[in-house]
Amino acid sequence: MIRYFLITCTAVWLVAVLAFTCRPSEPPADLRYVNPSGIHTLDPARMSWTQDFRVALNIWEGLTTWDPNTLAPLPAASDQPPQVSADGSIYSFALRRNGRWSNGDPVTAVDFARGWRRAIEPGTAADYAFLITDHIRGAAEYVARRHQAVTALTALKRLADGWDLTPQRACDLTTSSLLLLLQTMGVHCPAANGDDEGSCRSVQECLTAAEVDWRALHERALRDHAASLDSMFAGVGIEVRGDWELVIHLTQPCPYLPDLLALPVFLPLHESIERLRVREGDVPLSPEGLVIYDPQWTKPDYHRADYPGLTTNGPYRLDSWVFKQRARMVVNAYHRGAGEISCRAVDMLVMENVSAALMAYEAGDVDFLPAMDVPYDHEIARLAQSGRRLDFHLCQVSATYFLNFNCVSDTVRGRINPFRDARVRKAFARSIDKRAIVEQVLRRGDRVAESFVPADVMPGYDPPNGLSSDAAEARRLLADAGYSDGSVTPTVDFLYLPADERVAQALARRWRETLGVRVELRSMESKTFAEDIADHRFMIARGNWYADYNDPTTYLNCLTTGNGNNDSGYANPEFDRLLMEANAAANPSTRMALLAKAERMIVQDDVPIWPLLHYALPVAIKPHVQGLHPNARLWFPFRHVTVRR
């Protein structure tokens, strides 16, 4: 009995190993690199991670691209610089006639309009949709109208489904657009008055009592809305002139537009994607009015509804993608430069453990590590800086690590928030020794941040230096604010992520020693952290910002009143006015001067945030790989790479 059991065990063991071994394996690619966390999404409209950008921008091609050395914008899908109107608000791009999709179809202006339109549609729009809605004329209005329709349709869908209405739900559903729609049916319901229980109850009663065939109403409203979509979109400043010309009408002059257009959110999409659009009957919308696609469309081997698989227009195409294991890119044979590309296949390998990835690199299994986020990063930095490892490079990234001071809340977790007072913010800021944090605590080769916008990165912009570090002055400022006596000094709450532990400890010690304040350290996992930040449940919080494009506004816009990324809650009409004025300025040097003036308000006067450092991120490139240039955007196009093993 036992003998049979052991024999069976051995047999199963052997069969499993044999079956696994006999699977067909691919020949190794020319270049192998590690992406520790894998691809989050390959949908250009939805991606927001640098590592996803890297894959997308190698397999797609926007109107422009960045020079891997200088990061200056270069023509890509358009073969010449754009024609710009005199007031700088209309850009006209001529597309290359020889642009080809990976199935041989020509790349036309309609493909770009399709991609951009999809990128702002509710249901698909994500992190970077704001680049389109903020810059292109009529886009924000289009999205606002779509949002109205979506809320009304969602409510109708809920009512049609016979949702069990509570007063709270009735209030949530009842938006002005729904009420308007109901009025056309002769139903007059009162508008909900905030979250007031009584008014919600009357809305609920009105909706329950209304003799409306919700299902028919929903169907009709959805159909009407879908029919009006194209005419609504005609108001957006994305104008397709024939197959080869794309004209962009901007809300205001945008000198950095060519730089923006290289980002994934501005990539074109092949027409085949429309076959995977989610439809309600013959209406190309979800029942809620959202524009949603079968999320599988980014797979090269997905063929539902005659879908040909992911079709892209870049120098590479996606050959295979195995979830959390690997993705392979091979040269797109239809690309105009396909013949000159020496690196024919690139493997992206997923290794969650970066130390293991580093060991694989050392063992020669991997050629390139674009991220080396390890606990011993200071050692890597030391090896790179001392010249002992010529294959380790530090990329001075355009990104700032800073502190957010809560400028809005009166109380935080039951305590009075002293940071509403600018003097307290300045006191905490000026008592920090940034150099000590960079050189003694982190030792990663980061640069001390004197300003929010990194210096020497944005052409033509000279950022103002922030207040200097001065402990005596800091104590005076705190006393001025009424916290002279140690006993009155409040306990300060500091919110951060586990990775910030060393910095948090150092800052807390520094504040205790120079200002005599007690700091309560709160380390939180990222999702809970994000909730606390959104609800302003912090006094001081860590923050960081990576530049989306090469213009100071990518940083400064985060601090405008009501901006979704304005975590400090800073609101100063003067600052907002300066930014608006700068954006309307036709003269580039006036524009930059106005932006510098605005930044001076941040780092010298109001101090809603306090920049600490600009990141230096290490990358490792094997000596036999040529053509990868460490740069501020971690942008690595593989088409220029030569591998000589």
């Binding site: 071994t21 939805r46 509710p122 949002h147 797979k299 979830f323 690997r326 290794m351 999702k527």
Partner: protein
């Protein structure tokens, strides 16, 4: 036997249901927004519509809709990895974990049982003591230590095996050894103590008195009853091995299902979390049942009691 099976199946179903309900309660209680995956914020209107689309604005509805989907083996969309469905993620990760888990468990049984028997046969000799020491090391060393040490030895120093990745048989060796080590140790210990008890019993003495060869007594007569505690342990242990180990996956870059448990929770990815928990609890219940069924095969007393 049939009645027993039906009763166990029914109880198993209830257990899985309870686990699902508890997990669900925790999923809705924990703060964090699954629709907020990037740095910027999702528009409130879109979020409301998305919540409605996925029934996430109504916990009760979501509870039943998810269960209804799960009954058809459809766990719905995930939010963190929007290009994939929960089914694809679980479907690609589970076979990896199952392969490594099966190999590790088989290895553990094939090494652990003979080791335990050998140690029991040589009670209180240097063989027994060194086996015990080995077992102690296997149980007390955490897998991230053994895993990393194995990488340093086999991949970096001796360059015998590749580091990380997935595809060839060489990628299997170290994860299987690392995962098998603690199981081997437990099995060896259980076999050894079970064997001790059995060897001192009357029927063994009788067997020896009859003049049977020691090998035959040990392997033919004593091993069966001695293995009962091992069999009981094998049920939950196999389920645990099959559903992946986060640490082993992390250390070796194995694309198994263990990581999705952790990542789904961190990302508040309700669908993936619930799907993974359902798969895990079903496997656990199933293997416990198999272990109990194996009892009846080994021990006629239990068979008769049913």
């Amino acid at each position: 036997m049939i009645r027993w099976l039906i009763r166990r199946l029914w109880l198993g179903l209830v257990t899985v249901f309870c686990v699902y309900t508890l997990t669900f309660l925790m999923v809705i209680a924990v703060p964090g927004n699954p629709f907020q995956q990037g740095q910027h914020r999702v528009a409130a209107e879109t979020e409301m519509a998305l919540r409605a689309r996925y029934h996430m604005d109504d916990n009760w509805l979501y509870y039943w809709e998810f269960l209804r989907g799960a009954a058809r083996l459809d766990f719905g969309p995930t939010f963190m990895y929007a290009d994939w469905t929960c089914n694809q993620i679980i479907g690609s990760a589970l076979p990896v974990s199952v392969l490594i888990g099966i190999l590790a468990m088989l290895t553990a049984v094939m090494i652990g049982v003979p080791l335990g028997v050998w140690a029991a046969q040589h009670k209180n000799t240097w063989i027994d003591i060194s086996c015990l020491a080995l077992v102690l090391v296997g149980i007390s060393l955490p897998t991230f230590v053994t895993g990393t040490s194995l990488i340093v030895l086999f991949c970096v120093s001796w360059k015998l095996l590749p580091i990380g990745g997935w595809g060839g048989v060489s990628h299997l060796v170290l994860p299987v050894i690392t995962l098998a080590l603690p199981f081997t140790a437990y099995i060896a210990r259980l076999t050894r103590s079970g064997m001790f008890d059995v060897l001192s019993q009357d029927f063994v003495r009788t067997a020896f008195a009859k003049g049977l060869a020691p090998r035959r007594v040990v392997w033919h007569h004593a091993l069966k009853p001695a293995l009962l505690p091992v069999v009981g342990y094998l049920g939950p242990a196999t389920a645990q091995a099959l559903t992946g180990s986060f640490v082993v996956e992390k250390v070796f870059g194995v694309p198994g299902i263990g990581q999705h448990f952790v990542n789904a929770a961190l990302n508040r990815d309700a669908g993936l979390m619930l799907g993974a928990v359902l798969v895990f609890s079903t496997l656990l219940v199933l293997f416990n049942m198999l272990a109990d069924a194996a009892y009846t095969l080994i021990d006629p007393r239990i068979r008769q009691a049913l």
